[in-house]
């Protein structure tokens, strides 16, 4: 391609910009991003907009079908549950709780995982081996089992189930961070920094971390989708968020008793979980592809 101007420097997009350009070419991933943005806005502003509160019971409108069914009415767009609570409000509030809790626990898991991973990546010999063995032992325990144990010790509740899931997610981050740190430490730019007199900590924060951020973001989106699935599963089993709380999984287990006469009270919260996880997975896949395309170019 001929240069448009001889004298000006050719603009070269930054790595983030390049990734975004690659990401933008994938229309389905872009759709996922819009969907995700919608969910984020919904969980921030939704509860303010809704006319009902999540626990308010309308005793004259019990088990009302959604508005698009013949018996439905428009004041309750998604219908009501067996206690006359507006389902739309509960789903919106549930998105806020489920999504927010998952986001926080993934951030916590990422911080802890990165710290241990960086430490493991920089240490050698017996210390690294002990960390590896411990992590393998934790990874071998299924998430639900870990959650059952944590819940048995601390008691049920949303926060306790968040701890359990965060504990189960940490090993993934540790593995990833450790492998990247170990690989990058053998590269020449790190040697150059080391010749300048930088210590291990400085090398990690100023040279390796910037190279690792994008990979961490991709890993975090994957972890986020797993976290949402797990937190709703625990809510569903009555081990996480407890009954009146509009957490999406707890709502599903509430609706079990009336599943046959009110199938929408199972279908709609579940669909909300499904759409949320799907959009996160779309974005995660798109980011991963974009990153791969950028690195192979």
């Amino acid at each position: 391609m001929p240069k448009s101007s001889f004298y000006e420097e050719e603009p070269f997009p930054s790595p983030v910009r390049q990734t975004w350009n690659e990401f933008r070419r994938n229309h389905i991933a872009l759709l996922g991003l819009w969907c995700l943005a919608f969910f984020v806005l919904l969980s921030i502003f939704g509860p303010i907009l809704s006319p009902y509160s999540a626990l308010e019971q309308n005793t004259d409108a019990i088990l009302l079908p959604p508005a698009w069914e013949p018996n439905g009415s428009t004041p309750f767009l998604f219908g009501t549950d067996s206690l006359g609570r507006d389902l739309l409000t509960r789903v919106v509030n549930g998105c806020r709780i489920t999504f927010g809790a998952s986001l926080i626990l993934v951030l916590v898991a990422m911080l802890i995982g990165c710290a241990i991973g960086a430490f493991a990546g920089m240490s050698r010999g017996i210390r690294a081996s002990v960390i590896n063995h411990l992590l393998d032992a934790i990874m071998a325990i299924p998430t639900l089992l870990l959650a059952i144990i944590v819940v048995a010790i601390l008691g049920t509740g949303l926060v306790n189930s968040m701890w359990a899931i965060a504990l189960a997610l940490v090993p993934q981050f540790v593995h990833q961070t450790r492998d990247v740190t170990r690989r990058e430490f053998q590269k020449e730019y790190v040697t150059a920094v080391r010749l300048d007199g930088a210590g291990n900590t400085r090398i990690f924060f100023f040279s390796i971390l910037p190279n690792m951020i994008e990979m961490l973001v991709v890993q975090a989106t994957m972890a986020l989708s797993i976290a949402i699935l797990d937190i709703t599963a625990l809510g569903f089993l009555n081990l996480g968020a407890q009954s009146p709380s509009p957490e999406l999984g707890a709502m599903l287990s509430d609706a079990l008793e009336t599943a046959y006469i009110a199938p929408w009270s199972i279908a709609l919260p579940g669909a909300a979980i499904f759409l949320m996880v799907l959009s996160i997975n779309l974005v995660g896949d798109g980011l991963r592809t974009a990153l791969r395309n950028r690195l192979t170019q």
């Binding site: 071998a140 325990i141 144990i149 048995a152 579940g270």
Partner: protein, 343 residues
């Protein structure tokens, strides 16, 4: 190779040791009296208390009691379930096979569906077939397992009424408990109406297995597809084409072998995910497996059972993972070079 086997065996022993010690520590971490959590006898009187103290060697210091605990675990004395009053070890051996049965069927079915789909998808990269399979796998990957199971019950069991929605086999059939695997038990037994019982057990298996398969299968499709695409892009495939081999020859002789073997360890890693999902599905379908048993235990605060269940499930998962690891190492010569590279 012997060195490698030794290392893995070492890892297995150490991990089992850690898990055992962990389950011992749980007795102290759980709320309530550690003695009750270990033995399962609530509110022991003074004499019984002394006996139990002596049995678990709690009065002789930490390490002595840990050692005593190991001996009891190996002897099969895992305490008594506070719900039913029967031995935890017996209940575990009764429920664990049911869970393993469900997971194995789901795993086999997912492999049979997932591997071919992933290969087709990877071979037709960026074509309509690939897009279709990929979208389906993405959807299957995002569906919450318990929601899918509920929808299946709503549609197939309640609306259409074609499939049963709970338990392993209809109460009409009295299946003798032998191996714990229901299909094997029916085949081995000499009961009347064996064919009918077998059909009934199959019908009970369909819904739980399917709802587990959707997630695992989509995972396998995604892993396989990525690996096939990577291999088909590589230089030695181009060299094989340049030699004049046809597409099918290239795929069969060079592509598939190289694409499938590296993903095997990752597939083994998915077993823990499958176990988690199996435990959830068991609760929904009232499948009498270890997941359902442990969830019930937590509702009724039956701590000895939780301790035993945790030990049993994690031992199964760890032994499975490590033995598959060794098996793959035997089958895959390239990885022998990494013998000393990894810990």
């Amino acid at each position: 190779m012997l060195v490698y086997l030794g290392r893995r065996l070492n890892l297995l022993v150490i991990t089992l040791f850690i898990l055992c010690a962990g389950s011992f520590a749980l007795a102290f971490l759980f709320p309530g009296d550690p003695l009750t959590n270990l033995s399962g006898l609530a509110n022991p009187d003074e004499q019984l208390r002394q006996q139990l103290m002596h049995k678990y060697a709690l009065d002789q210091g930490f390490f002595a009691s840990l050692w005593q605990y190991f001996q009891l675990i190996f002897a099969g004395d895992w305490g008594i379930s506070m719900r039913s009053g029967s031995s935890v070890f017996e209940e575990v051996t009764r429920t664990l096979p049911a869970s393993i049965e469900l997971s194995v069927y789901a795993m086999v079915l997912s492999l049979f569906i997932g591997l071919p789909l992933g290969i087709f998808s990877g071979l037709s990269h960026r074509k309509a077939l690939d897009r279709g399979i990929l979208s389906f796998s993405l959807i299957g990957y995002s569906v919450p397992v318990f929601w899918l199971a509920l929808l299946m019950i709503l549609v197939f069991a309640l609306k259409l009424g074609v499939l049963p929605m709970s338990d392993r086999v209809s109460l009409l059939y009295d299946v003798p408990l032998n191996t714990g695997f229901v299909l094997l038990d029916i085949l081995q037994s000499d009961m009347e109406h064996r064919e009918a019982a077998l059909q009934n057990a199959f019908a009970h298996l369909i819904l739980p297995t399917l709802s587990l398969t959707v997630f695992t299968c989509s995972l396998i499709v995604r892993l396989t597809r990525r690996s096939v695409i990577n291999v088909m892009d590589s230089d030695y495939i181009k060299a094989a084409y340049a030699k004049g081999m046809s597409r099918s020859e290239v795929v069969w002789q060079h592509g598939l072998k190289n694409a499938l073997i590296p993903i095997m360890p990752q597939l083994v890693m998915q077993f823990t995910l499958l176990m988690t999902n199996a435990m959830i599905v068991e609760v929904i379908f009232s499948w009498p497996g270890i997941g359902e048993w442990m969830i019930q235990a937590i509702y009724q605060r039956d701590f000895p059972s939780i301790r035993g269940g945790m030990l049993a499930v994690s031992v199964v998962v760890v032994s499975f993972t490590i033995s598959m690891d060794v098996l793959l190492k035997l089958l895959y010569p390239l990885s022998k070079r990494q013998l000393h590279a990894q810990v």
